[in-house]
Symmetry: D2
């Protein structure tokens, strides 16, 4: 039997498709920044946030550091100093510029950063036009990783822009042209049962996945139930009205300590107005939509709500097993709402609504390596593995995630006190 | 068939045995404090440490708050103000006195604390002599919990005393009469294989267990291997000599950040002397025993060592499944060494050495509730459940643990940065 | 003309008197500690506070370091390690043990510290019995300094004991046998005028004075007025009732920032009770005496009160010029009240009341060197000079000061945020 | 006798001159910002620094808040929200936006801030064209204050821009066209004697002065000497080479603690390069000019150098009395060097060189009110008075100060740890 055409080196078609995808993903990052004032590009509103300009540069640095420098013969950097400035956290690639100081870098300017992007793009085009045969497979793998990486930063861009603008007492909108969802009737929460047993968890090797989604392995779960939809703003407001932020019995000890110290009384962007709750969004301040999924919760708040509701968070295995056959569809960045929305009443009375998109769903699982986990080789091994302590897994993507970026095995992760990401929750309970 | 004699109410024998155990456990706490100078009783050397005096009072408060106040008719407290002072963290029982301020409480004096213990003991004797029938079962359950609780604080007492004395540049010994182990030859590390499959994890209901060990449930594990003994001081010193504390690729990101900031270069109590390493122990400063298990590691250090050694930490399920049939024997507090010891070369070339005692073994599992976990009712629900975030599980007990206190299902837990507990590690790897 | 008998070497009488004074001062430190529980000796309730035990040892270390080691032939230290432990801040004498960690030192025990005192006292007796002739003058100067130093620590002991006991929710009294002053009628505040001109400020060389009181120099002051007595509790309560802690216009910017951050609403030891104000004292919790001088104010609070009252604080020159001819008499530690007291209505309608004793009076002068200031030679040069930044001068002594220790040129100094010392204020204004 | 023409209301000439000056001063602020990239305008590199954009807006707010709102009939703000955003610290004018958050305000944009300036300028022109007669005198006083205030911020702009750019590892220059001074021969330091006595200190009422320079009053000083020029870089480098940053005996205790904690080894912008010292300047990184005055010292460093040199800092009275008859000439912002320069060898061998311009000279005087000090009325009373604690006085202006802004009575003030201002020192000693 003849050898398949593209076994060892990429077929021209694959290269062409990847080049097109490269251009599309890169253009999308810049499109997301179009509504910004130039002044917005440089702000770092807290240590966890990066200036939009920094994101634009860093994702380019990723291609430069892991593709152009090692693989493009004769590559010349636009500015060698960027290698330090835009290294995020790769200790084995040099000493990264201190994260909390990113907002101090007024230079390179925004124009210079766009020039940097152009320089990288032209060089990447050259590399993809004629990848050295011996390294072509590795190059394609890394290009794919670089694009997935840039998509992650597209979501970070929206999170960070939202946070930056929300610190400004004038509450400027990122965009004035975002559609506001029409009011929806409340959809009663339904419990969906899942039988226990051994199931496969993790990515099955077809198509891209991050190292942390691998390897696929077996997990035993007991019978369980999942709520038919995420917790809504109205339900969370009820928790608050019931004194939820003052009831120590609902909270993990670390969470209780945090909300005392930080004086939290509601989700991150909620503001109590005369007649009720408003919410800062990428479209500016809006009245809270009661049926939309609650968003911008820390893990502690998600756990506290679940405890108050007599339920719990699902494990990531429970979530993934329930989601494996569901289509990846929902309110993603492509819907251009940039805000979780109330789902219309479901056509049929079964299955899970809003599994994908709208809000990342906190699970009760710590972000730890799967059995047999192997980090990528070299500096790229720092991509995921070294963050596997202290963080919790979230699943399903959100209204700021590119649809093609997410899948049922996708593991997002944040520290339990963080809530500037689009994070909500779905209840679970024993069957 | 006739009803067993003691189904609903405690038989006199059970009561008598419990009373005897009560007196034995209570006496042991005081015995542990006998070597202290009166001045040692009040010191809080860091926020995580409590003054020995506070431990002695708090464990008494536990009996007072959860047994004497609810169940002993006509109980009169020795001093009502102690109810606030010695409440550790039970928010639903009142406002606990701030943890970090415990060292400020010069009063009640040590003598008054011993008087408090006596008062509680006499009242407990009265309660156990004639427990109200309707509540007898609950009373016995709580007495057992109170004794287990006091045993936990016995270990904390030794940890805290060690930490207090180690801050003193004079390095006073807690005791001068502790035996130092004879030097042992190095025992090569052997890998023991375990087949994967579904196994039972958690306590099976016979005898006491904490709520967090329950319920017994099924867990699927892949094939795995465990090291035949814990990592030794000599092996850890090799990691240091190899530049381990300067190799970012071995460390979790949080750990790397911590050791930079805190300038850690070795386990907590190690000191570099001219000719090598010494170690502060409860018997004072000693030369490091190369074959003894390395001790007083943070989780980050345990992870870094494992990465350096090309291995990993076991999951708690892997550990428990391997330990379920092993006898609970080893170097416990009863051996009166109060320091991990090198094991003699094993008689036969199989099985795992030093599973129990010597050092708590960090696992790679976050301390989270088991499927179906139910916290105890009422304030006692705060005992374990609210700490189930941010902490990692350790298994097996240590040289400061009462032997009867530990079992294969026992889950100890600490934050990953903590290392004043007697904590070491055992390597694991895929089969 | 014949040489005076004691020009170059101390006369036996002088030596004898000094020896007697040595014993008296040293005994007084121990007398002040007699009411303590042994447990009180080791507590450090904030970084500025030292454990009473530490005070007792440090003042002995002072004699050892600056007299016994350099001047007593063959002196053998009781424990060489104390030289590090009880060095307060003399960098040129070695590396002082970290101040904020003093509360961690459970050893040496209290008994060992008393033994250390005894050892030092016996050695000092030997030194004073036969001081080497060539160094006798320097020895006598240093003994006098050591005694003055110990008197300063006697006041610190009372301040620190008060602070330690006040952190305890049980509010234990240092002593139960302190007289409470009888109620006094309110004494109207009168303004006393002083003419401007050049006046002498600083010590005139007769008798002991600290280096910072020297040299006497000329200062020009404008005409000014001083209030006839310190501000009373009743007057300060009026300031509070008038919203004083919420009126930014009364406060220095640093003070305003501090009271927001620390949520201060009243002097340090005041507590609002149902019917009014109570105050923690060395005699336990007492009802506030309205006519007694207000006490335990920070400099910021003193300034804010003065601004609210349309007045200002006196400069230290104004204070000293007005006090130079006044007798050093008042409510000192010898009165054994240990609390500021209301003065009886003055016999004649002129002069200033309560200049000395009761409360240290904040002045508006920064603690800076006088023109021509020379620090002592050697390590003793660190005694005062290096603290001459960021602190403000207080004058007059307080109810915890030994009467013989203070004089009109005496300069006490604290950071403006500190208020655990017995500090109040007297108003001044332009003439 | 006829009434003088301009007694109660401003003469048209005076108004015209003030209007011209208004335009000139306002234009200068914008001229200083011309070299900036738009991205530089928004950065806050530490809490003490304000973004250049914020300075431009705040000085306009000052005219709006204190002139347009109270005095211009029918004034309409461009944006009412700016009243909160650009209030620096006037608590009695509302709640200022938190200082440390100024860097987060990406909006208003730079263009909007310039529009705001234009709006204020047009309104001010209207007010100055026809000031209401009854308030004209107050208006002119406040316009003058507003212009002086803007000049202070012009210097702050240069300080802050320098700090912002210096945090960037690329060390961008603010301007590429600044002249570098030619090398000068070393000028030996000469001591100039001044006789003691009573002298007048403070402003004598002719022309503008800040409230803190008033009232003129008498001060007695002893005989003293001042160095003929500021301390040079070469001299300061000698102090460093002599181990100055490691000699505790030279330092105030607070300074010693600070340099340990912050690991300071040299003045703020010095960098040790292979062949010696370089220095970050507004013209980029330059080799250190050995004969130029040392700059960017904290008070602690100035004190330490003086102690090492066997001298001291002058008091502000000593400085002012020596400077009262000296012409206000030197290296100011108008020289357009923006960096202290070595003075050429003086023509005649007497007098003091570089009293004005080059570097602000730390004095040994705390910034406290003069006898008889009265703050301005109303909110403007917050201008200076409330900062009179914890700060030290500096005299003489610097290379970033407008020449017309400074005078011999001018009191600048900073906290002793600050050193991003252009601060150096001149030695003094007893005569």
């Amino acid at each position: 039997m003849s050898k398949p055409a593209c076994a060892d080196e990429p077929c021209p078609n694959a290269l062409g498709a990847l080049g097109a995808r490269y251009r599309q993903v890169r253009a999308q990052s810049e499109r997301l920044c179009q509504p910004l004032a130039l002044e917005d590009y440089g702000v770092q509103s807290m240590a966890d946030v990066s200036p939009p300009k920094w994101h634009l540069a860093h994702v380019s640095w990723f291609f430069e550091a892991f593709l152009l420098r090692p693989f493009l013969a004769g590559y010349r950097a636009l500015d060698e100093r960027y290698d330090h400035l835009f290294n995020s956290y790769y200790q084995s690639h040099g000493t990264p510029f201190p994260r909390a100081q990113r907002g101090v870098l007024s230079r390179p300017t925004v124009a210079q950063v766009y020039r940097y992007r152009e320089h990288v793009d032209q060089s990447m085009a050259a590399l993809l036009a004629r990848p050295p045969a011996a390294q072509a497979a590795e190059i394609l793998r890394r290009v794919e990783l670089g694009l997935q990486h840039e998509q992650q930063h597209q979501e970070l861009l929206l999170m960070d822009i939202k946070h930056i603008l929300a610190q400004n007492p004038m509450l400027p909108a990122y965009r004035d042209d975002l559609d506001v969802a029409a009011a929806q009737p409340a959809v009663p929460l339904r419990w969906q049962r899942y039988p226990g047993g051994i199931g496969p968890v993790g990515h099955d090797e077809a198509g891209f996945a991050f190292d942390c989604e691998r390897p696929r392995h077996r997990v035993y779960v007991e019978d369980y139930q999942l709520a038919s939809r995420p917790v809504s703003n109205a339900e969370y407001a009820e928790f608050i009205a019931d004194g939820g932020y003052g009831r120590s019995d609902c909270w993990l000890a670390d969470g209780w300590e945090l909300i005392q110290r930080a004086a939290w009384q509601a989700p991150l962007y909620w503001r109590r107005e005369d007649g009720g709750w408003s919410e800062m969004t990428l479209g500016g301040l809006r009245e809270l939509d009661p049926q939309a999924p609650v968003c911008h919760l820390s893990y502690y708040e998600a756990e506290a709500f679940a405890a108050w509701a007599g339920a719990r968070l699902p494990s990531e295995a429970e979530w993934e097993l329930a989601a494996q056959n569901a289509p990846v569809a929902g309110n993603f960045v492509e819907q251009d709402r940039l805000q979780p929305m109330a789902a219309p009443a479901p056509a049929r009375e079964q299955g899970l609504g809003q599994l994908f998109g709208d809000v990342w769903e906190w699970t009760g699982s710590a972000y730890r390596p799967y059995p047999g986990f192997r980090a990528l080789a070299g500096s790229l091994g720092e991509y995921n593995g070294k963050f596997m302590s202290g963080q919790m897994v979230l699943r399903g993507g959100c209204c700021a995630t590119p649809q093609a970026h997410v899948r049922s095995s996708y593991r997002n992760f944040f520290y339990p006190a963080m809530r500037w990401q689009f994070s909500g929750l779905r209840l679970a309970r024993e069957a």
